[in-house]
């Protein structure tokens, strides 16, 4: 069982987390976004072998964060808050 570092709670069991997609998959706004661009946003995933930057959410506290991990070795490389405005 993997241990994921929640930026808010610290290391917790992987079962407490949900996967939230690739980090950096920016949403293209607008009704006239080219359909290929929109399709890539919706469906194209990088699925790398090795280092991956991903969004995860810790369901217990609700924190969404960016985690870097190695998909081959399951090593966790880093985790950080999303970096939005924090009042």
């Amino acid at each position: 069982m993997q241990l994921f570092p929640c930026p808010f709670c610290g290391p917790r069991d992987e079962t407490e987390f949900h996967y939230g997609g690739d980090a950096g998959n920016t949403r293209p706004d607008g009704g006239d976004v080219p359909i290929d661009r929109w399709a890539n946003y919706l469906y194209l995933r990088s699925n790398p072998k090795g280092t991956a930057r991903e969004i995860w959410v810790h369901m217990n506290c609700g924190e969404f964060f960016v985690m870097e991990r190695d998909t081959l070795t399951h090593k966790i490389l880093s985790s950080a808050e999303l970096g939005g405005e924090h009042a």
Partner: protein, 959 residues
């Protein structure tokens, strides 16, 4: 006379405490400290079980977890328990497995005479036509090991423990004890586990002297020092798996009636001191009872004072058996050692006869070994054969942790290869033989940069040597040479697999079942793949090993389940008013994780009539309904309006404070994700009323957009669903009823119109009333603090008597909403339904601002003319309701094609006819068209109609 208990000795047994148990109905006498296997051996019980496939008689082979043969059922509760690891206990009832009526006189033993006709994969090949599943039950019944006693009841849930330590040492033999001692000396917290009841491992019965002390004294002192230092020692505990990030699973046995305990350990470092397992040697009939692992025989002799035979042949290819030979000679046996090697062996002990450069060709005997023949044709009488085919390091856990193995020609075994982070291997598991090597490896395992590790123990006695000459099974062997005892795999089966090109080790395993039994091939995997190497002209490392997976030994499912049994397996959520509903005779059902009243009174056969009655009466006067599960997620903050605009398909920022609006939330792919009413409490505060079973998902979605797009200071989200109870009063007399209760606000339609909210009070508590209707009738949803809801609910029921109010459960509500054509997401929609499929075209056509899922509503797919659209369906007069799931069909070229399906279907008591909702191709434009419906091969007709079957003008909302 063959196996027997000696008059003296036995470090593990207590002769002052005799124990008596039964095996296959016969009485067995032993002592405290015996295992079932040692006691059976002491009583000279040779045949202890029957083999899996051929029902061959089998005897005890080993003395530990590797045992392939001696499987027993204990007290009907623990099937397939290894007799070698199970303590003998007074009154215990043990039964051999796969034997009818018992191991000695098994009536299926005839199968063995047909073995020629039952090779590997025989069943798959023979019973293919017409269908394997026709034959499978009979074959399984005949082939299976152990039996589960279905009447057995658990003594309670198994404990589960989460545990942390600096160093977890697996195995308390010489390497593990040394590693634990060194780690403790370095100031680290240590947990030491061992699968045997007595720590010590091979030191408990092999020669050794450490720091000038006898091994037994050193073991005792080391354990005492660890205990005194506050370190945790867990005997009878198997480390069965290493999982991601070095989580280690332990299963601890208690032997006192308690369930096993599951430990989840997160150690800073793992030291695997798991030892090595002795391999058999290949010769014909090498599975006869009376043929034991030499190491096991030494363990039985020294620990339980049991001598395995009187006339013993020791067959070996390595040095380790010589210590065994010397010991059994000293205990009074007549011993001949047959060594495959011509030279390079250790000095032969006195009185030992040695045959050099020979191997065993076969064992002779029916139910137990009587003699052996050698490869030169000579014959030796024997009542016992002790075998050592070399040592297989126990590297299972290292393999599970994705450790790569390295082949050692010198040891004729796979050893741990490149190190794995956080895991060190020590002792025999790492290929160490002498105690000096063992202690050196333990020192290396514990060493860490900056750690002050004390001096390692020193071996001061005689040292074991590791000379070996590989003796793998060979292709073309005469007779039946067994490789996997537990799954009955012979050399010929492996040859057959090779002939049929199942030469990859993973295919070999699955085709022959080699290594797939409960022992997971602990004694058989390496010989099997070495044989495949021989057959195919490759080296053993070229063949490789199969993947190591947990568990190392079987773990009871109860251990994994822990407390998650019965209701705790998937706990239901409960209403604050559950007790009140029970008093009202509610029949509860689970809906989306909530336990809710399905209807009040009327169980089983009366249920349908009761539900119909509730739905009819609800329309006549007034109904009371507990809607507490309805989502109440508050969205607060300066950007709250902008936020809900983005989250909803419908524009919400134009909503006035104190008003409500129905809308959809979409997923980014445009599919309708949830529907419900949004309440605007004030300028910067909204309440999202989402579907009851969808609250957690909606909440997570709101959080995601808040954190990812809007920023945490702009919007706050608070899920208040369980803080408030919501009591719904619905029906033509709803307002009249509420006016008699006194809620502290004006209920006049001018003050509180449909889709508005009002604030009042009841019993000193604030209440919020929303005029929102899921029934189509005038409705009031009253929200109040959950813990103060009960008096209000009682008051409503009491006041309702004057109006013939009816309590309705969820089933009646489903009828009422379906009459109105109101959908339930996930029931009347699926993973392709877009908002305009449900008739909500406006925002798609007009909205200019951004919202979740917007772009997906304008794809080619979303604009198709033949999309499935929400419709109502009526049936010819007098017919029964359509089955939910029935398909509307189209005929083209003589073939049937689905054009949609029924999603909800009920008998409407108010309309006096069946009603249904469905999704049909171009359904919105086809009202009035009659189509064919098919369900389970039966055809009938239905007419497409508007979804709303009752009060389409909505007059009852204000009636």
């Amino acid at each position: 006379m063959t196996a027997s208990r000696l008059a003296t000795g036995g470090s593990a047994i207590d002769r002052s405490r005799p124990v008596r148990f039964s095996f296959d109905g016969a009485t067995v006498d032993g002592f405290a400290g015996d295992t079932i296997a040692s006691a059976l051996l002491a009583n000279d019980v040779a045949v202890v079980g029957r083999s899996f496939k051929y029902h061959r008689p089998r005897g005890i082979w080993g003395a530990g977890v590797e045992e392939p043969n001696a499987l027993i059922d204990i007290d009907g509760a623990s099937p397939n328990t290894r007799a070698t690891t199970e303590p003998a206990r007074e009154g215990l009832v043990a039964k051999s497995v796969n034997a009818t009526p018992n191991a000695l006189a098994d009536r299926n033993a005839f199968l063995d005479r047909f073995s020629r006709f039952i090779p590997a994969a025989f069943y798959y090949k023979t019973f293919m036509w017409p269908d394997w599943h026709m034959f499978e039950p009979r074959i399984r019944a005949m082939a299976g090991l152990g039996e589960v006693d279905r009447s057995w009841v658990s003594s309670g849930p198994a404990d589960q423990v989460n545990h942390h330590c600096d160093v977890l040492v697996v195995g308390a033999g010489p390497a593990g004890l040394a590693a634990a001692k060194l780690a403790a000396g370095a100031g680290l917290s240590v947990t030491l586990v061992d699968d045997q009841r007595e720590p010590g491992g091979s030191l408990g019965y092999r020669d050794g002297e450490i720091d000038g002390k006898p091994a037994a004294t050193w073991i005792e002192e080391t354990l005492a020092a660890l205990a005194a230092g506050g370190h945790l020692i867990l005997p009878s505990t198997t480390a069965f798996g290493i999982y991601d990030h070095n989580l280690v699973g332990l299963n601890q046995r208690h032997f006192d009636g308690r369930r096993d305990t599951l430990w989840r350990v997160r150690p800073g470092k793992i030291v695997l001191a798991t030892g090595a397992i002795e391999r058999p040697l290949p010769f014909a009939n090498n599975d006869l009872p009376g043929i034991l692992s030499a190491d096991a025989a030494l363990s039985y002799l020294r620990r339980h004072a049991v001598l395995a035979g009187r006339r013993i042949v020791v067959a070996t290819n390595n040095d380790s058996a010589y210590e065994v030979a010397a010991a059994v000679i000293e205990a009074g046996a007549d011993v001949t050692v047959v060594d495959i090697r011509r030279d390079g062996m250790p000095a032969a002990p006195a009185k030992m006869k040695l045959v050099k450069g020979r191997t065993l060709a076969s064992a002779i005997g029916r139910l137990r070994v009587e003699a052996v023949t050698l490869d030169d044709g000579s014959r030796l009488d024997a009542d016992c054969v002790l075998v050592s085919g070399g040592w297989t390091p126990t590297i299972h856990l290292f393999g599970q942790a994705k450790g790569k193995l390295a082949w050692s020609e010198a040891r004729a075994a796979f050893l741990p290869g490149d190190p794995v982070d956080g895991i060190a291997v020590a002792g025999a598991a790492a290929g160490a033989v002498s105690l000096s090597e063992v202690f050196t490896s333990a020192e290396k395992a514990v060493a860490a940069p900056g750690a002050q590790v004390p001096a390692a123990p020193r071996s001061t006695g005689p040292e074991a040597t590791g000379g070996i000459s590989a003796a793998w099974p060979k292709p073309g062997s005469k007779g039946r040479v067994w490789i996997d005892y537990q799954n009955d795999v012979t050399v010929k089966d492996v040859e057959l697999a090779a002939r049929e090109n199942f030469v990859s080790v993973e295919h070999l395993k699955r085709y022959t079942t080699l290594g797939m039994a409960t022992d997971q091939g602990k004694t058989s995997n390496l010989p099997g793949l070495a044989l495949m190497a021989g057959i195919t002209g490759r080296t053993v490392p070229e063949i490789g090993t199969t993947t190591y997976r947990p568990p190392f030994t079987p773990v009871p499912l109860a251990s994994f389940a822990g407390g998650r049994v019965g209701q705790s397996m998937a706990p239901v959520r409960r209403l604050p008013l559950e007790s009140a509903h029970r008093e009202s005779g509610a029949v509860f059902q689970e809906y989306g994780g909530w336990l809710r009243p399905a209807h009040y009174g009327g169980r089983d056969a009366d249920a349908d009539r009761t539900i119909q009655d509730e739905a009819r009466r609800a329309r006549q006067s007034v109904a009371l309904f507990d809607g507490s599960t309805l989502g109440k997620i508050e969205v607060i903050g300066p950007k709250a309006a902008e936020f809900v605009d983005f989250l909803y398909y419908n524009t919400m920022s134009t909503l006035k404070p104190g008003r409500c609006r129905y809308g959809f939330m979409l997923s980014e792919n445009g599919v309708v994700f949830d529907d419900g009413v949004l309440v605007r409490l004030d300028e910067h505060r909204f309440v999202v009323s989402c579907s009851s079973s969808h609250v957690a998902a909606v909440h997570a979605r709101l959080e995601e957009w808040r954190q990812d797009r809007f920023g945490c200071g702009a919007v706050y989200i608070h899920n208040a669903t369980s803080q408030m109870a919501t009591l719904t009063v619905s029906g033509p007399n709803a307002r009249k009823l509420l006016e008699t209760v006194g809620l502290g606000l004006s209920l006049a339609d001018a003050d509180l119109p449909h889709m508005a909210i009002g604030h009042g009070g009841y019993g000193g508590n604030e209440i919020r009333i929303a005029r929102v209707s899921f029934t189509g009738d005038r409705s009031y949803e009253i929200s109040i603090r959950a813990d103060r809801a009960e008096p209000l609910w009682a008051h409503l029921r009491e006041a309702g008597k004057a109006f013939d109010a009816v309590l309705i459960g969820l089933e009646a509500l489903m009828i009422l909403r379906a009459e109105k054509g109101f959908i339930v997401i996930g029931k009347d929609t699926d993973g392709t339904t877009l908002p305009h499929d449900l008739g909500s075209e406006g925002p798609r056509a007009k909205r200019q601002t951004e919202y979740v899922g917007r772009r997906s509503l304008f794809t080619e797919q979303a604009s198709r003319g033949d999309r499935l659209q929400l419709v109502g369906l009526t049936v010819p007069q007098g017919e029964a309701p359509l089955p939910t799931g029935a398909h509307g069909i189209k005929r083209s070229d003589g073939r049937l094609r689905s054009q949609g399906f029924v999603t909800s279907s009920y008998e409407s008591p108010t309309l006096g006819r069946p009603i249904a909702l469905g999704l049909m191709e171009c359904g919105a434009a086809r009202h009035g068209e009659t189509i064919e419906m098919q369900h389970l091969g039966k055809l009938r007709t239905a007419t497409i109609a508007a979804p709303c079957a009752y009060d389409p003008a909505g007059e009852r909302l204000n009636a």
